[in-house]
């Protein structure tokens, strides 16, 4: 219950494990990047608040979709969870331990349990290594299996799990298509038998016809191995398909979180509504009838975020108060969390049905 939504403040709710165990819990996560100027003597001239007070949790076997536009901090959130970027403050509790407190040596065994799939399968594979070496390396380094032949066997097994011909092990990345490369990226992530995978825009670089293949594969693997996903994407229709719950980020903050159905049928934050209305639908008849909320302006710089609600300069329903108060993420109906002071006062027809 309480654990389903994010937990703002120090409010901890240990009791609510009724709907499954929490695998990952992010609390009040902040990541600020200093902006420096000068070559020899670097002065700090500003602070980029890439992630600013973000809290959420993910249960075992669940997929949390994290959507937002470029610069919203969704990728940095993923990197902070994996400790590829160390958080400025806040907690990342994974399988019971706060990773932000661990040093590199302590993190190593944890890293086996959490993996990442990147957006661009072209730049995330070493062009000089064969597919077999790419997938086999983590297996060898982390000593998942012993012996050359065993590693090779494991690679073949992983290749067939992700739907590739085991003979592909001898090929190089450039010989593969985009979709095949992304399958290799998935096989590499699986090679360490993780329990949690951050999927960072795993399909946005792929052709439409291949995107569906990869999404189906990710779903199959989740069912097969009981994986938990944080699925980062900007495509709301893809996230509706794969996410059990969906969190919407804007300029370093989560503005809305809810179960998939609730979020898409009853979006409450004006930014979520605008995002939903901007998603094109492949049907001219539907498009002709559809109202579209075209947002004014662009995402402001996280270096100099607007005061009060960060969305207020672009918000179609902003009132003067919005520029003064930072809206708290609050639970407006069971498990539906919104950071908007006008969320209830302003209701409109759902963006779609079903």
């Amino acid at each position: 219950m309480g654990t389903i939504g994010p937990q703002p403040g120090g409010r901890r709710q240990e009791e609510a494990n009724s709907e499954g165990d929490i695998l990952l819990e992010v609390r009040r996560l902040r990541k600020y990047f200093p902006l420096t100027s000068g070559v020899l003597f670097q002065r700090r001239v500003g602070l980029i608040k890439a992630v600013d007070d973000v809290s959420f949790s993910i249960r075992k076997g669940e997929t949390l979709g994290l959507v937002g536009e470029s610069g919203s901090g969704k990728t940095t959130t993923g990197r902070c969870i994996l400790q590829l970027d160390r958080p400025t403050s806040g907690e990342v509790r994974f399988e019971g331990r706060d990773l932000a407190q661990l040093d590199e040596a302590e993190l190593r065994p944890v890293r086996r349990r959490m993996q990442v799939i990147f957006q661009d399968p072209y730049s995330s594979l070493n062009p000089r290594m064969t597919i077999g070496q790419i997938i086999g390396e983590p297996v060898r380094v982390h000593e998942i299996v012993q012996g050359k032949e065993e590693v090779r066997e494991r690679v073949r097994e992983l290749l067939s799990v992700v739907g590739l011909n085991p003979r592909m092990a001898d090929r190089f990345p450039h010989e593969l298509s985009g979709g095949q490369r992304q399958r290799v990226g998935i096989a590499r992530a699986l090679s360490l038998q993780p329990s949690f995978i951050v999927c960072d825009e795993p399909v946005s670089a792929l052709d439409v016809s291949i995107q569906a293949q990869i999404i189906n594969l990710l779903e199959d693997l989740q069912a097969q191995f009981g994986l938990t996903y944080l699925f980062i994407a900007h495509d709301l229709s893809v996230v509706r398909h794969i996410g059990d719950r969906v969190a919407v980020m804007y300029l370093g903050k989560i503005v809305e979180v809810a179960y998939r159905r609730e979020l898409y049928e009853n979006p409450l934050h004006p930014y979520t509504k605008a995002l939903l209305s901007a998603v094109p639908i492949p049907d001219p008849a539907v498009e002709a009838k559809r109202e579209r909320i075209v947002l004014k302006g662009e995402v402001p710089s996280p270096l100099n975020p607007p005061c009060g609600c960060v969305f207020h300069p672009r918000c179609p329903i902003a009132i003067p108060e919005c520029s003064q108060v930072v809206p708290e993420l609050r639970e407006v109906s069971p498990n539906h969390w919104v950071a908007c002071i006008r969320a209830e006062g302003y209701q409109s027809a759902p963006a779609h049905s079903g």
Partner: protein, 338 residues
């Protein structure tokens, strides 16, 4: 509806006519037929979409119209491109330079790489104006500011003195649109104009392009891999696969009753927000075609769930399946209502 279509066809003349275009790349791996006998028309003021996945030849077909195919290895080996009564393929290089940017403008996917990072936005805009319209420096500057205002860039006078890196992705794409419009072209070729942009910015840019094209009567060819993006904007849709045109028709026909298995597959594979969530997505199986090693017969055959024996050895031609609607598929008739 059909009646209406006929009327508009009579009212608007054909602006661009691509006839049996063939563009090939001569590589070590062999001859790659990137565009293999493609034909389509664009009428004045109309928006035409060319849809297909990476490597299907959609960008090469646009670059061929502009005669921007790098030689070697590429060459337009056959075909005609009639624009405003002239065959562009028969023009001299100098004549073609007069067409490029002036009568036909192009907008690319990645605005950062198509702008010169070392020149101010103002300089890049005035350069075209001075070259094509023979404007004086001060005239060109005035017009440049007007153009930026037209595409919705605030404080144009200040922005003109800035460099591309000082603009966001969406703003850069607006600059590209301003540049494309600068010489009052009759046709704009837009190659994946919104693919690199965020969803909310995508909507802004497409609305802007549509509005401007209607206001100035500019015809547009929008090249994209995403059928969703163009549903709202396209009048005509051309679907390409492996260098060939495989289906052509009005947007309404293509989306409502696609008659090629590939088009059908593309439409089915994307999750749709306006429909109930499916338990499973329906992808197109297999990989996109490798143009250097195409199978004989229909090149979509190996990924096609409707393939019959005939598909293996006979390449299907484009055959009419409705008024102004053609499909290159031997079983197009059986796809009706699927």
């Amino acid at each position: 509806m059909q009646h209406e279509a006929w009327e508009s066809e009579g009212a608007k003349g054909t602006l661009l006519q691509v006839k049996d275009l063939r563009t090939q790349f001569f590589t070590l791996e062999g001859v790659i037929k990137a565009v293999d006998g493609v034909s389509y028309d664009v009428r004045q003021g109309e928006t035409v979409a060319i849809v297909g996945e990476s490597g299907c030849g959609k960008s090469v077909s646009a670059l061929s119209i502009m005669r921007l195919i790098p030689y070697p290895p590429g060459r337009i080996v056959a075909g005609e491109i009639w624009f405003n009564g002239r065959n562009l393929l028969a023009l001299t290089d100098e004549e073609m330079r007069q067409v490029r940017g002036k009568e036909i403008a192009m907008i690319f996917q990645e605005p950062m790489t198509s702008l010169n990072p070392t020149l101010t936005i103002g300089r890049q805009l005035t350069e075209t104006l001075e070259a094509h319209l023979k404007m004086s420096a001060s005239e060109a500057e005035g017009r440049a500011a007007e153009l930026l205002r037209l595409v919705g860039i605030p404080e144009p006078e200040r922005r003109l003195r800035q460099y591309p890196h000082q603009f966001s992705g969406g703003m850069r794409q607006r600059v590209m649109i301003a540049m494309a419009l600068s010489c009052n072209p009759k046709l704009i070729l837009a190659d994946e104009p919104t693919t690199a942009l965020d969803v909310t910015i995508q909507a802004q840019i497409l609305e802007l392009m549509k509005e401007l094209s209607q206001r100035f009567g500019v015809a547009m060819v929008i090249i994209t891999h995403n059928l969703g993006v163009v549903a709202r904007y396209a009048d005509q849709v051309n679907v390409m696969y492996a260098g060939k045109m495989i289906e052509q028709g009005s947007a309404r026909d293509i989306y409502e009753s696609p008659r090629h298995p590939y088009t059908l597959g593309l439409l089915r594979s994307v999750p749709r927000l306006d429909q109930p969530r499916k338990a499973r997505l329906e992808p197109i199986d297999g990989q996109p075609p490798d143009l250097a090693h195409l199978p004989p017969g229909c090149s979509f055959r190996l990924r096609c769930t409707f393939a019959i024996d005939r598909c293996a050895h006979e390449v299907p031609p484009l055959i009419p399946v409705g008024a102004g609607h053609v499909s290159a598929c031997w079983v197009a008739d059986t796809l009706h209502g699927k």
